[in-house]
Subunit: 454 residues, 2 copies
């Protein structure tokens, strides 16, 4: 006999109850994106490998899911490549397409391909799954959703201020208390310059990014291991120890970085963004964190990261400004800033803190019992009438025993069960049972919708 | 320089305007599914090939997109298979996963895998893309959405009646006039029996399915070619020429098939479904069409197909009853009935007939002009206040020339432009320009939302 089927590791099925929770997250993010004037696009799951390869580093290339060419993919392939030592070169011969790895590269490709149809500044959002052949582990999947909003074609810091407000509004609606951490890549460049190691910016940021996890001593060790001089490490210490309110940190940082043109510009950008955001008011905590690095090769200005305050998990949203989104596709000079909400981690936070609304609508509002014959016909008419009034309902399809029908309603968490027996059918009434309270009343069909809506 | 990027043939990007139209379709279908008590699930894009292979016929196996195993997929492969003559066997060695081809097989797999968590009768809906390596052509894509609703674990004909009402409601809301064609696989079996060719049911249905396209003479030719006797073809003619209202056709069919037990049962099922549906009332035309076959190997009872009345295109929705959804995965006896809406064809019909609502909300409702400095700060506050009232708005991010900002608003079809200059900022007012009418008024910020809502 067939064995019990399964799904590929790192992928998931979502049940109706899980879908209700996920839709709550997606709907919230989507409606805030729209409120802020972002417009939805979608791109295909498959992209040409020429679009994807080389965009995520050597490791990323390996993590792309590649699709075997259709038909006889070996026809015309150089037989010398049919050797396990040469599989990397063979891959380019037998696979031309891959699954998207994120939403940013497809967006860049979209912008270049449709450049004549796009109105700049272009505010786009995109909510779609991405695929990565990562080793699956707790909280890391091979298929997961990204929810991205970007505005391109404008280098105004107003965009950063808007995105911070957007983040604040999403998490305010989701009732998740957050801290938004900010940094600026120019500040990181300024720091590297200041401590006499301008060519070591990446080493510095990779090391100091871990300060929360491993502590300052380990960070200093790593910096020395990465070839920084004792003097540079010493010069870095006052920066790592900056404390106080965001305004105080900015002042201290400004003094420390005053001799680096780039660094000073970074501080000024941070100040503009922070001052403007705080003066508009927000629910989130806003922190300046000079140890924040995130995908450094990519970002060129503001860097944003969001942490949940009441639940231990990695960053739940992140983003930043980039100066050259589309250069790799031959369209230079397109600057932008964007953020990405991690729907799966947000799902874990909401589950962990039990923050879902009470009624997510995972069931019909009413189930009609099926008594058969003329009563079933009457129930079908009643169901039709209620649906016309916007009440989601169902008729139990089979004329099963009452006990079985009620057990189904119970197990499905349907709040109301409606009965139309002979007397109700004759009188044009419905007997409505409130499953939570255990009460029941008989009322005219015309009054049922109002009664359910309370 | 990099060449202009492109996407794989048969796939599509969707612009904001296209997304607004697609969302209108998906939202309509989704809300009717919910109104009728169907619950959403989602399954992964990738399934194990062992789940997919052999479920869609030999041709279907070829049309599956197969994913190359990660890492060195050639390691351990028998070198004898590295030969273009043996690519089919090699495929099973280097690819374990494929992209889903439809939503039905993944649903069957889902039901078996989660059988202990599912409450029967189980009404599920699923709206996700599927992928087929078909030759792309007008209206046929390699990535397209299916919108499926099925109820399993019940063989009551009430389910058919409910699904017909669901179809009627979806197209009523979309304002597409339709004919729903019905048939029953048992009727087809009865016909084959009646004309003395019970083993030729598939040949008969394949041939008569084309009667609308090629006419009765060609159908008869094909039947003879397919090995039916002259006598059988002659006996078939009265059935092919049945006409009249659905009730009249049923009566004629009942008389013709009275000696076939299976055929008579099929007629009786059709009569129950049609009578019950007509007595509840529907907007759609309801036709009985004995030439309707659809995926015959699969369906065992009712067969449903929907055609648009005012636009020439293939079937835009279809479905039917099956007796053994999950048998192939080792769980026999699960009967069900389902329908699938073809979102892409519905999109073509709505475009062709221009049936979209006037305002699909593809832009912000208001754009604030950016004057810089204190006026920008005032505009940011106004934007925040309007969003809190549910008005989607944006601030032009750059302090560009007025002409440029207005051109953007125009090109983006933003209905209102708001100006906060020095005097408005001082007075707490906004000058609101109605882009369609060309009029403008200055009013307190507190009144703007009401003014926009009209």
């Amino acid at each position: 006999m067939a064995q019990k089927p399964s799904i590929p590791k790192g992928t998931r099925d979502f049940s109706p109850a899980e879908m209700a929770r996920r839709n709550y997250i997606f709907d919230t993010i989507r409606s805030v994106f729209r409120l802020f004037g972002y417009h939805q696009i979608e791109t295909p799951a498959m992209e040409n490998l020429s679009t994807l390869m080389g965009k995520y580093g050597e490791e990323g290339d390996k993590l792309l899911f590649k699709i075997l060419n259709s038909g006889n993919y070996l026809a015309g392939v150089d037989p010398a490549l049919l050797d396990e030592e040469k599989f990397v070169r063979l891959t380019t011969q037998i696979s031309e397409k891959g699954l998207r790895y994120d939403l940013t590269v497809p967006f860049a490709r979209f912008v270049v391909q449709h450049r004549n149809d796009i109105q700049m500044p272009f505010r786009r959002f995109q909510i779609q799954p991405v695929w990565r052949a990562d080793r699956p582990q707790k909280g890391r999947y091979r298929e997961f959703y990204q929810c991205d909003a970007d505005v391109i074609g404008s280098d105004s810091l107003v965009n950063e201020v808007e995105l911070l407000q957007l983040i604040d509004e999403v998490f305010r609606r989701l009732k998740i208390r957050i801290a938004i951490k900010l940094n600026n890549r120019k500040v990181l460049a300024g720091i590297a310059e200041l401590i006499g190691a301008p060519d070591k910016m990446i080493d510095i940021t990779v090391a100091i990014d871990k300060i929360d996890k491993v502590g300052i001593d380990k960070v200093n060790e790593e910096l020395l291991d990465r070839g920084l001089s004792e003097q540079s490490v010493k010069a870095l210490q006052p920066i790592l120890q900056i404390d106080g309110s965001p305004a105080e940190r900015l002042d201290k940082l400004a003094r420390l970085l005053k001799d680096s043109e780039t660094g000073a510009l970074g501080v000024q950008e941070l100040r503009t963004v922070i001052d403007s955001t705080l003066s508009l008011g927000l629910d989130a905590e806003l922190d300046l964190d000079v140890s924040l690095a995130r995908g450094l090769n990519y970002y060129t200005g503001t860097i944003i990261e969001v942490k949940a305050l009441d639940f231990a998990i990695g960053s739940i949203t992140g983003g930043g400004r980039y100066d050259n989104l589309t250069g790799v596709f031959g369209m230079p000079g397109v600057s932008g800033v964007g953020i990405s909400f991690g729907a799966d981690r947000i799902y874990d936070v909401l589950n962990g803190l039990d923050l879902y609304p009470a009624d997510l609508g995972t069931s019909s509002q009413v189930m009609f019992v099926n008594f058969g014959g003329a009563e079933t016909a009457a129930a079908l008419r009643a169901v039709k009438a209620l649906r016309a009034q916007g009440i989601s309902c169902e008729l139990y399809p089979d004329q099963a025993k009452m006990k079985k029908q009620m057990a189904y309603a119970n197990a499905s968490s349907i709040p109301y069960v409606a009965l139309i027996g002979e007397s109700e059918a004759a009188a044009g009434t419905v007997t409505l049972k409130d499953m939570a309270k255990g009460t029941q009343t008989t009322l005219p069909l015309a009054d049922v919708a109002a009664s359910i809506r309370g």
